[in-house]
């Protein structure tokens, strides 16, 4: 019998706790496969966030630290400065990275810290029960914006990739989505490039991954993918904002 598909060795056998239809599982898989394909799993040290992916430290099959909410880039800075030869990454959601941890991510990028950040943007706080995030879209109803987010009250949703791409030390910035097989392949490519950026010592690298939250959006998994395509992608355009080849 021919083996046509195998679970990545970059993941442990601990079952995911994620909700049905949530795309964290796909993103975990892409990161794990990338670490294995680049041959760096044994050198990898990951930093898990606070939020839905708080238990990521159980899932990635490499050394892991669990950070305080938003502080993963500071924790990763400490690790990377001690072990510059290791491959260090943070895995963070939009509440973690785009709200409580904005100072940490901006300054890690600004210093050109040589680690890789996987930023999962699903436009909502999932773990705590569907509250408004800085990335929540205008009109989107959440448990803390029950009538829908308004510009007057909460401002426009924050575009982290565009902002981070203005920073010199951020050498690779790309926004991807995992809503279709084609986009999943593109996401994998970007994640690989973001780790190569670190391995080549170029500087800070981040991949923003648009992700679904069927549970807190209140949609079926399939409808949630449609909502992402119709609402998130127009506001959060996919594409590369910065690549280290440009800086040659």
């Amino acid at each position: 019998m021919t083996m046509v598909y195998e679970k990545s060795k970059g993941l442990t056998d601990v079952p995911f706790h994620y909700c049905p239809g949530c795309t964290h599982g796909v993103i975990h898989k892409l990161v794990a496969e990338t670490l294995v394909e680049l041959g760096v799993l044994e050198d990898a040290i990951g930093v898990a966030p606070v939020g839905c992916s708080v238990l990521a430290y159980k899932y990635f099959n490499c050394d892991m630290q669990e950070a305080a909410h938003g502080r993963a880039p500071a924790v990763a800075t400490g690790i990377k400065r001690v072990h510059p030869e290791n491959v260090v990454f943070t895995y963070q959601g939009d509440g973690d990275l785009a709200s409580i941890g904005t100072a940490e991510i901006v300054h890690a990028a600004h210093r050109g810290e040589k680690f890789t950040t996987i930023f999962v943007n699903n436009a909502i706080y999932g773990m705590t029960g569907g509250q408004m995030a800085p990335t929540t879209l205008i009109g989107q109803k959440t448990t803390t914006s029950p009538l829908g987010r308004t510009v007057e009250h909460s401002g426009m949703p924050i575009r982290m990739s565009e902002m981070l791409a203005t920073i010199d030390g951020a050498k690779f910035v790309e926004r991807v989505s995992v809503d279709t097989p084609a986009n999943i392949r593109k996401a994998k490519k970007a994640i690989k490039r973001a780790f190569e950026c670190q391995i080549q010592g170029k500087g800070f690298a981040i991949v923003e991954v648009l992700s679904t939250c069927p549970t807190n959006w209140g949609y079926t998994p399939v409808k949630a993918l449609g909502w992402l395509q119709e609402n998130m992608i127009p506001y959060y355009p996919l594409g590369n904002f910065r690549d280290f080849e440009e800086d040659k």
Binding site: Q65, A68, R71, G78, R81, V87, E104, H107
Partner: protein
Amino acid sequence: MSKVLMKGNEAVGAAAIKAGCRYFFGYPITPSSEIPEYMSKALPEVGGVFLQAESEVAAINMVYGAGGAGARVMTGSSSPGISLKQEGITYAAGAEIPCVIVNMMRGGPGLGSIQPGQADYYQSTRGGGNGDYRTLCYAPASIQETVDYVMLAFDKADEYRNPVLICADGMIGQMMEAVEFKENLNKNLPAKDWATTGTKGKREKNIVNSLFLEAELCEDHNIRLEKKYKLMEENEVLYEAFGLEDADVVCVAYGTTSRIVKTAIKLAAAKGIKVGIIRPITLWPYPYAIYKDINPNCKGILGVEMSQGQIMDDIKIGIEGRMPVYFHGRTGGMVPTPAGILAEIEKIAGGTK
């Protein structure tokens, strides 16, 4: 080794490097800014890394990452900055990450003043962060002690896998004294086989973490931590005490204040009043047991602190209601005088309640 004249804050840095600290993450604040300044020059010379963080919060979380990665690491700050670090300190305690945090205390609350203070006693000894945790807390009274206890702090942090605080006051940070650097003790410390260094394919993955979603497991974790704290209470109490057995009055003070108290004790002796002193060197664990040595006919215990009396709670626990307790202090950056302390001693010795 001969003695060298050093400013307290610089001596902190030199002692840390002597103890094998190679990483410092910090943020400037008066009156402790000479610590990062010293480290920015000295650490690269020994192959270490100094990094000025974007905030106190980031600095302590960098310490968390570096300590969790197995390094000897330190941060230093002063009162308002230490408040910001409480998040990282409780996480480090929960995840059992060894690290050293130096607090050159100044007047508070809030932005307070930039002059010396001791009003972070509650924060230091009761845990400024959330949850059931404890931190060893050394209060040096001279630059020599600062050097000695900074070096010891790194060993104790590694021995117990716990954050260790140095609680000095701004006076200690700013003044100069002659110091001698002893050889690092570095007794047989446990290997850091729990640290995140990359598995290299040779071991199971390591996880540095303070989260336990199941309450039963979180309780088990807390009980295990408590056993460690009990060991510290049994083995790590340090103090200086003299003149307790025949004392008319006993003063309790630490850090700079204890030196002023010693001057007042001499002034009192000249007036025929016998005054003893208890000087806690570890603010936590606290030297409660020594209170049993106090003369039962002693007229009272006088706590002296650069605060509104935060040390009084521990004095009351130590004396167990056997005699009256009094407080004399200056606060907000003001320093007690020998004359002011003497006046209180005379009142107590004279029987004033």
